[in-house]
């Protein structure tokens, strides 16, 4: 028995199985998504569940609907692929931009209605996916940039707890920011 070659074959197969190990994620509305474990591990929350050995059947995600979950999976897949392909970054003295090659893709990804954007923020936070959280928060921040405080209050329906005098004083102190 060529034991050495058999064991080589076996170990290769094991490796292969390990690489394409899948997990099933279940959304709040009952839909199941099967993804590669490595892709699912982009989420620190899922990663901990798997590492703690609790991911036997499906991982239920009661806080995420199927629509959002499918988008999140899309994000994770794309970023996992890109991470696998890219070479270690080399600092170049001449280049003044070490841009993320996925910048364009990310920009398109967040071109969604605000409903979805906020849901993505909540999902990214719950699933602990830093890249997605940063991306979505940055997008909302960009929308907020040029607005006046009143507009912010209106859009986020925040109750103004300053008295008119107090508010006038704060404005006066920071007059330069309103110019």
């Amino acid at each position: 028995m060529a034991s050495s070659s058999t064991s080589v074959v076996v170990s290769n197969k094991e490796k292969e199985n390990k690489n394409t190990k899948k997990v099933t994620l279940k959304s709040s509305d009952g839909e199941s998504f099967e993804v590669d474990e490595s892709v699912a591990m982009e989420s620190q929350t899922i990663k901990h569940i798997i590492e703690d050995g609790c991911a036997n059947n499906e991982i239920p995600l009661p806080n995420v609907t199927s629509g959002i979950l499918s988008r999140v999976i899309e994000y994770c897949k794309k970023h996992k692929e890109a991470a696998g392909e890219s070479e270690p970054s080399v600092t170049s003295y001449t280049s003044n931009s070490t841009t993320n090659p996925l910048t364009e893709w990310d920009t398109e990804f967040v071109k969604v209605d605000q409903n979805t954007l906020f849901d993505l923020i909540l999902a990214a936070n719950y699933l602990d996916i830093k890249g997605l959280l940063d991306l979505t928060c940055k997008t909302v921040a960009d929308m907020m940039k040029g607005k006046t405080p009143q507009e912010i209050r209106e859009t986020f329906h925040i109750k103004n707890d300053y008295t008119p005098e107090e508010e006038a004083e704060v404005r006066k102190e920071n007059q330069w920011a309103f110019e």
């Binding site: 070490t98 209605d113 409903n115 907020m144 209050r153 920071n174």
Partner: protein, 402 residues
Amino acid sequence: MSRSRRCSLSLRSDDSKWRWGRRSRRCTLSLSSDDSDSRRCRLKSLPEELVEEILAWLPVKSLVRFKCVKKSWSALFQTPTFIAKHLRYNQSKTKNHPNPTLLVQLLSRRSLVSKYLLQSHHHDEANDHRSVYHDHLLQYHHDVGSVSEKEGRLPFVDYFQGENMMSGLFTDGLLLPNMFACINGIICIGGLFNCYPSFHGFVLWNPAIREDKTVAYPLTLPPDFVLAKKSFSFFAFGYDQISNDYKVVGVDRYTMKSAITSYYNSFYVYSLRADSWTQIFSTPFHHSIVWVHSRQDEIYFNGVHHWLGFPNEEAGERYNSLIIISFDMSHEVFQIIRFPEFSTRKRKRLTVFNDCLACILYGITEPIDIWVMREYGVEDSWTKQLVVNPPVPITRPVRFFG
């Protein structure tokens, strides 16, 4: 629909509330639930920490404006954790688009007095800064030494207008500047200010939020040195990453001339958080170390400030016995780093090369040697990195670019 409980945002056109710069049509961002009769915002259910995350990506000017949205926001912007987060996020944003800011020192006709102006070349929304400061520069050229109305827009004068002691702190200028640094966007300028009564201390200035703070240098007296005279002082500004604190370290050198001349160094550190000075008594070297006076021989690297100094008082072989004295801002400790045996008598200059501490050995026409300390703190790791031949006689090397 399962989404009826979630907040939904709709875009309504024809509402001129605000305009998105990048979009051609006018639209407004409003929140409405799927129940059309109730327009209650669901965003209230976004937890505070997520609102914080969003706010941390905003530029400073927007944050200052949004202070008056809600009291808790104003309080949030002052918290150290938020500030640190905001700094991190904004630094990562601008990593690829650095916004250089130049602090220009002007010499007035009175040669002892120096004035400082900020010229900033920010992108996007801070573009107006450039014109403001540019105006100042022009104004100064024409009205050197006088306080004009436009000069009143300098942050220091604005701030000090109500306080007699400090008024004119910067309009009258700074004599004997002994500290000058900028870390994380906070500028620190120290020295003897030419106002009445004179002020010996430093100013911490954050131009982004237009706030500043003055701190006086403490009076320190060495024990047993009743007749000591202060010969000079050194100060350095730094940032303590561990406790998120800005610090200034000071060294006062006292001389006492009696039968023998003796020296004493007094070390102390100021913490912005504690808003107080504390004296440092334990140092790894005898207190008689001399410090090099020239300001160009010090650098701030990796949270540690480095000076060049001598281990003893002997004149003569001074340049050969130079050592580096470092002060770690986080741990508040002094350390000595020795140079390897340089077989030359060239002048030394500290710098940073490829993220490592380095030393430039130079003369006037001789080849310039650059030695790099590959492993910080390990004296054996000093390596001669390269030799540069200057095409013309030089006074001194300034710095590395790129």
